[in-house]
Symmetry: D2
Subunit: 357 residues, 4 copies
């Protein structure tokens, strides 16, 4: 019998669900014991129900897995301790609390619970401590399980790159402009007629999420709740003809003087001991490239197996004088920004001893 932790994927047939399966099929400490889907697919084999849209093929160990309903009762026999949710918001709102009530720790990709006061919103390298809020959440909601959210896929680059700058120099204002990949909208998502020879300068709700989540992520958990930092962030969000990999330009005003060299040093030395060495953790959370024309989505999105944030073109932001820095970030939106982020949250949760707790 396996000593691995039994886990399930909710909404396993969609694009994010497929990423979860890709990451979990051979995971060293988690074992996939259940896949759920909507009513339409319940009872089908995975290979018959899923229209596989990511590169490569369905892992052979999952091809014949029979899909169950997205309901705690339906997976009770398999007894997953962790549940990775790739559900859309409407189903997440109902199903995720049901699983948490039934005792599972839900690692959610949906936005519904992200900004709730008692729900940890976590990128473990930058705010693993927020995971401890689970105790309060359980007490308040009366759950034996929990809900832990990962972030909007666009905020990962800005938030991770801001963490070392915030700690070393303080942050006042951040001007962000995103150039986001098509896969961020799921499948089928964005029409090809909207993205061939084109850019769409609007993504519904995205700018608001980016602004709100960045501040929660950089907040401090004081044992009672998250104390949000005081900086402001403003974003323009755009969709560009790229498959995977969100680019975000950053113009940052810091509290204390900053130089490109100091910014680069802070980002390159950034590490979190709670996370280092975990199976899904990249060796370097932030990779800073020196070449003037990098990072680029197609060439650099797989850095650190798609889990590193890649930063480039670090230079002074003249409009903020000695307090200004500007650069670009790239993050893989369906690995670091979605499925990979949740798996790393789960690994960190174990490392911090919270599963036993």
């Amino acid at each position: 019998m396996s000593n691995k932790i039994p886990v399930a994927v909710l909404g396993a047939t969609g694009a994010v669900g497929q990423r979860f399966i890709q990451l979990l099929a051979d995971h060293p400490t988690f074992e996939l014991v259940a896949l759920t889907a909507s009513d339409r697919s319940e009872g089908k084999r995975y290979q018959d129900a899923a229209h596989w849209v990511i590169e490569g093929d369905i892992p052979s160990s999952m091809r014949d897995t029979v899909l169950t309903a997205t309901d705690p009762a339906a997976v009770a026999a398999a007894a997953p301790k962790f549940v990775f949710s790739a559900l859309p918001n409407e189903s997440a709102q109902i199903a995720e609390p049901a699983f948490a009530r039934a005792g599972a720790v839900v690692f959610s990709n949906a936005s519904f619970h992200r900004m709730h006061d008692d729900v940890p919103l976590v990128i473990p390298e930058i705010n693993a401590a927020h995971l401890r809020m689970v105790a309060q959440q359980r007490e308040r909601r009366g759950w034996s399980g929990a809900i832990i959210c990962n972030t909007n896929c666009t905020v990962t680059g800005p938030a991770m790159s801001l963490r070392p700058l915030y700690d070393a120099f303080g942050v006042r204002r951040v001007f962000c402009v995103s150039m986001q990949a098509a896969s961020g909208a799921g499948y089928p998502g964005v029409s090809s007629l909207d993205l061939i020879d084109n850019v769409v300068p609007f993504i519904k709700g995205e700018e608001e999420k980016l602004e709100a989540e960045a501040r929660k992520l950089l907040g401090v958990y004081d044992g009672a709740g998250i104390v949000h930092p005081e900086f402001g962030l403003s974003a323009h969000c755009n969709r560009v003809p790229v498959i995977d990999g969100h680019m975000v330009t950053m113009s940052v005003e810091t509290e204390r003087p900053i130089t490109p060299e100091a910014a680069i040093a802070a980002m390159r030395s950034f590490k979190n001991p709670h996370v280092a060495g975990l199976p899904t953790a990249p060796e370097f959370p932030i990779v800073v490239m020196d070449e003037a024309s990098r990072p680029q989505p197609r060439r650099d999105r797989m850095t650190g197996n798609g889990m590193s944030i890649v930063v480039g073109r670090v230079r002074s932001e003249p409009l903020f004088g000695a307090h200004g820095i500007k650069f670009i970030t790239l993050s893989h939106n369906t690995l670091r920004g979605a499925a990979g982020g949740s798996v790393l949250n789960a690994e960190t949760y174990c490392r911090m001893g919270l599963l036993a707790a």
Copy 2:
């Protein structure tokens, strides 16, 4: 015999040269009397020397035109009064002054002379008055002709949209991020391996040009020189997989309070009587769209025959409080931002009576 003004195109075989020919082949007041090319193509018929890369076909009236050397002597018989230069910088540096010395008014697309103190850098809707600097230029340089520059293709959207805001509200700081089309780099320009499923976050020299030219364009000609305005502008420039049409996001801090409604009203009512009604002038220099997801390059770049600036998503910029506005601009980089801009400069020059002068 035609009463039209005889004109020539220098560097007629390249991508910008092709646009000039497209615009001038049936122009109501200019008549194409000479096309020049590099030594390699001299003496060939246009259709044999040019690899036509823009949409449609070579205008039939130009197919058999024999290319001459790029030299005033070679076109002397045709006696062009205006010379439209699509030359690359290295040749422009030599050839443009030669033509100006020989008496022609050169409308240049090259960057070489743009920032010279006595060279007008003109988008006629916003600074037609700079054209009067030609008198000083002639005096200082001893030319009977002149050199008049149009701008870098990326600055047209920012500069034109800033003009009415600057006039009505004052401008302090501008954060720009560009998403630029492939055609901005000419032909062959950017490799397809750099632009399929990719974004390149760097264009050599572009950010510096954008920052310098925007300030010169919004300056005031006081009879002696250009008084540059005091605002600062900072840019991130990116290349995206789009054929034509540069998008630029704008986050603007104004001197006086501003609202989206007031900004839109100022942009929509913007007109310049020196330019209105000219053959190449769009009816509306700035078109503001209301739809949340517009403008988009492929769908909107031909607004006003590719000569209007299209603005969208006008909203408050929260990081600048009551003094902040943000929006996106789109301009057709090879029409408004290159050949069309030069032709409109020439038309304005005539309208202002400077040809006779």
Copy 3:
């Protein structure tokens, strides 16, 4: 009061409906008097109901037109004589016969009726005589109106280019491979995740349609029905990352010996006097390009306002010896292959005196 023929568009909000509106808003002999849509949009103004996805803007004369139900009764007051149908197959099956029964001549883009024995399937340059089948259709079905179909968008290039070859040399076998544009699938149609850096080698039902329709189109109407020709056609259909413009490679075995020169001459001289000079007819139905690398979709699809077929690379097909010819065709799939084709069918119908009949 206008002397124009009153016409309606069924399914006016979709991508093909938009093309109809673009073509009919300023048509010299037709006047748009009604636009219909699904229940969801009924009663709304066109500009509020339509998500305009083609280039340019909604024609201003149509912006405020109120959408009616897709029902003969709903448009009875406007009394359209011609009805252009952009309906999907399921609605076309019901609504098109209803309009024909009510007396309108329906020019349909749907595939449902195309292969019915008594329904003309028409590309007027190549088989305008099939329009006369309307008399039989009326008799058999007891309609005062009629249904006239245009073709699948992919077959236009092959069928038009085969017509002069068939007439001059006879045709035995045709091997076709298509590279089709995204717009052929409507909007939203093909996901961007399926078409960025990708080709999809399958389009449901397309190969069968291409094979069947090509033979009907080249058939002879003998007063009783269509006599299909004996040749065979086999296709591979592929979707490629192109907005508009279907390319089809052709390897053709002819009955009698053929040479590239003879094939080109036959195609270049091809004209149909029933069609020549009509408002939507191109001057040259088939344009043969000499340049080795043309036609190309983006550069050549607008040839003849998108109504010409463009042929290139005409050369011998060695596998068929003296009887073989091979080349490539390009046709604009939403103009010639959809809305434009229907409008030209209607113009031809008038020219042939069938409206009065």
Copy 4:
């Protein structure tokens, strides 16, 4: 001291050279001991001279390798036994014989020597026996080394898929249409202005190479030379907006009756014992997919680490009756079709005991 075979890469800085380095940096039996480049880069470190354009980063072991001249004398100290040539045709013509004369076995990607009578043109799964021609080549040319060519990148899919069909059913005629990736033209190669929203229906020399090489590849080496088979092949070659992965549609006439089931069985069971188990050999040389819409370049090109041919849509070709089969092939053009093919040729050469010989 390493027991690995010392190898060099000629033309190491270009796109194919980069692929070689990626494949050889950690090869189990070959050790990279020298990298050569053009005069311009000689003496530079690899990371300073190469503009790395493929995904991922330069292997760290090669970053500091100093580039030598492309000359046997310059690498004599390193004494490479195998030389992988990524040289362009003009340099290959001179340099490859020089290395062969100096004793190295040159595995070439250039087309110059491919069709020479005494040069093996090899895809080892289908014609490893041709490698034995090296003995004759040495004798005739007086070399101690040799030149062994891999194929044009487009022919790999057709040739490999035809091998089992030829063996089981005989082949008379093959109609091919390619949709080729941008990387086939090298870097910078095809302009983005030629490939965004576009297809280019012509690639210079490609159709001729495809036709000639396919017949040599399927020929039989009888100890004296290659006996070419009698079938004919005709191709239309197109460039499409895809990064890597050439698709080729195939309509094949066989000598003996064939069915889709029999064709699939022949392709799936195809193996070559000379190649099975080699480090670069895929487990399955030909992978046949059942899904109607596969293979697709982006999703399937990495099948078998980019070394398998992927076949799909196997069905009857009606125009050839019981003797007809049609299908599509996909092959990774810079792995299987270029660098990977050469490395596999070298591995096979060792396996067959020819190195010792």
